[in-house]
């Protein structure tokens, strides 16, 4: 075959989920520019329109929040953006891997296992969230939305929040067989309301009881509390541990669920 036969390269190591991340990095060479542009424009819009614009109105009515409105709201935006990106990346792109371009089926005919494919896709989303949250934070800082170095902890808080939710969406992506209409329901009736009822724009103490319970259940509220606590303080260690624990429960069950559904889907 061919003119010269090159000997088989040695199989250097059992492949890991990071090989799937590497694939996504190769693929990202095509679209990293649009990723960065989106990653800059989104925070600019929110920080300017709501943080600075709405912030003037809020701040003129007396500083009941104790800090400028932008400082109060920006860590929450950062967390909400992480959750929305995570949900988007774990939905249709994963479904494409199963159904449309079928790349996942190609992966599991190599030594990679369905669990590794699942882990690799989730790791890739985590990488994206870290990059995107860092960008978000830089823009917040440029517009005076930060007050102290602790705010850096908003990046891991937002990433954890996004991953807690992304893992569940990934499990859903592995289950859906139709054209992905389930995701439209998810975005309209879960992701958007979560944004409005998770203490993003105002403390949830402003909400009636039922609204507060919505927030308690929502991973976004727990992530927002963590990120805001990092940005402006006033968060007790016990509360922080509680929020982290709640998000970890989501993340661990989500990953287990997603791995299981990947196995079922890819070994039919």
């Amino acid at each position: 075959m061919g003119t010269e036969v090159v000997a088989a390269p040695p199989l250097s190591a059992r492949p890991s989920a990071w090989r799937v991340v590497e694939y996504q990095l190769v693929a990202a060479r095509r679209y990293w520019r649009s990723m960065v542009i989106l990653g800059v424009i989104t925070p600019l819009t929110y920080v300017l329109a709501l943080g600075v614009g709405l912030g003037v109105v809020v701040d003129n009515n007396g500083r009941q929040l104790g800090v400028p409105y932008l400082v109060f709201v920006a860590p929450a935006f950062l967390t909400a953006a992480a959750l929305q990106i995570a949900a988007a990346d774990a939905s249709f792109p994963l479904m494409a891997g199963f159904k449309w371009i079928r790349t996942f089926h190609g992966m599991v005919s190599t030594p990679l296992t369905p669990d590794q494919v699942c882990d690799g896709q989730l790791l890739w989303i985590a990488v994206r969230l870290i990059v995107n949250s860092s960008l978000y934070l830089a823009i917040m800082a440029a517009f005076g939305g930060t007050q102290r170095w602790w705010v850096l902890l908003a990046i891991p808080a937002a990433t954890l929040t996004g991953m807690a939710f992304a893992s569940m969406v990934a499990a859903l992506a592995a289950v859906l067989e139709n054209e992905g209409n389930g995701f439209n329901v998810l975005f309209r009736f879960v992701v958007t309301p979560m944004f409005l009822f998770s203490g993003t724009f105002y403390p949830i103490s402003q909400l009636p009881d039922w609204g507060r319970w919505l927030a308690y259940v929502s991973p976004l509220w727990h992530g927002t509390e963590l990120a805001r606590g990092a940005g402006i303080g006033g968060l007790s260690a016990a509360a922080a541990i509680g929020h982290i624990a709640y998000l970890m429960v989501w993340l661990v069950s989500g990953v287990l669920l997603a791995r299981w559904r990947f196995r079922v889907r890819l070994t039919k």
């Binding site: 061919g2 003119t3 000997a7 040695p10 199989l11 694939y23 190769v26 005919s109 190599t110």
Partner: protein
């Protein structure tokens, strides 16, 4: 266990199992309420080209997915390179090449990137992959498109890329599920040529097809599958000798007249292995001497609109064994 060890053990195991790289006994695949593969036995020997021939739904693809260590076995035993896919799937898959029925290429990536990324799934190093990727693009006649996206490539080119990709780890066994379905005749011949070269290079080929010409071109040995079972086994020539006659006379009568003609012709047959098959559009006479059969039809005043004498093919074997044709 580290990877080099795994490779050595596999190599040793496969030496011991030189007779059968793949061995299946009572192999069964059941889905909820449907048995796709119904207890089949077969062995694939090193260096041979082994085929599963059968219509769509015969259980070929399910069998291939079990051999590929992707779908679990429901019942029976399956050993690949002497190993059990249930416990050593990744180690076996490291030594297999897989060409699935539907391409799984990333259309957004270039030809080169597709090969590179796939090699990385096998744990191959970047340095080792570079010459390998070049060699495979050359083999697949895609070197000129190395840095082109896959999306706009023709079906035949994509298929060749899929085959090139399946060779990235220098597999001991290459599994091809319907390798040329959906390709135009010219693209099929280019692909057959590439597969034939692989066979000459000593790669063990296992393929499924519902094209009898493909099976005849490529397979040293094949099994005919129908309804999840193996209904016959042998080389193409053996199968034709065992299940058909040397020649076939195809007589085409006016629409609606074929059945009646078949009725009258059956009286004219002599040899005990000779028989008649009445299809909706023509009558097939399985005989030792086709020209004589056509002449006899004229003797009893049956004049077909057209007649053709040809040698028997696997298509006839399949028709004989199952009462149905391969391509519906």
């Amino acid at each position: 266990m580290s990877a080099p060890e795994t490779a050595e053990v596999l190599a040793r195991n496969s030496d011991e199992a030189a007779e059968a790289l793949i061995s299946a006994q009572g192999l069964t695949k059941r889905f909820a309420d449907f048995t796709a593969v119904d207890g089949i036995d077969f062995d694939v020997r090193r260096g041979e080209a082994f085929g599963f021939l059968g219509p769509n739904g015969a259980g070929k693809s399910s069998t291939m997915r079990m051999i590929g260590c992707v779908a679990p076995v429901t019942a029976g035993t399956l050993r690949i390179l002497g190993r059990d896919p249930a416990t050593q799937g990744p180690a076996i898959r490291a030594r297999l090449g897989v060409v699935p029925q539907q391409d799984t290429l990333d259309l957004e990536l270039t030809v080169r990137e597709n090969l590179y990324v796939y090699g990385r799934y096998f744990g191959m190093s970047r340095a080792a992959l570079r010459p390998k990727v070049d060699e495979l693009m050359d083999f697949a006649q895609l070197s000129e498109r190395a840095n082109a996206k896959v999306e706009p490539l023709s079906g035949g080119m994509k298929r060749r890329l899929t085959i090139a990709r399946s060779l990235i780890n220098d597999p001991e066994i290459l599994l091809l599920d319907e390798p040329t379905t959906g390709l135009d005749p010219q693209a099929r011949h280019v692909l057959w040529d590439r597969l034939y070269r692989l066979k000459q290079a000593g790669v063990t080929l296992v393929l499924t097809t519902h094209y009898m010409d493909e099976a005849e071109q490529l397979c040293d040995r094949l099994v005919v599958m129908d309804g999840g079972r193996i209904v016959a086994e042998g080389s193409p020539q053996e199968l034709i000798a065992a299940h058909s006659t040397r020649e076939v006379a195809e007589l085409r009568f006016a629409p609606g007249a074929n059945a009646a003609a078949a009725e009258r012709l059956s009286a004219a047959l002599t040899g005990d292995r000779e028989r008649i098959e009445a299809l909706p559009d023509r009558v097939l006479l399985y005989v030792a001497d086709g020209e004589r059969a056509v002449a006899r039809s004229h003797e009893i005043d049956l004049f077909p609109l057209s007649s053709l004498v040809r040698r028997s093919t696997l298509e006839d074997v399949f028709l004989r064994l199952t009462g149905r044709s391969l391509v519906d």
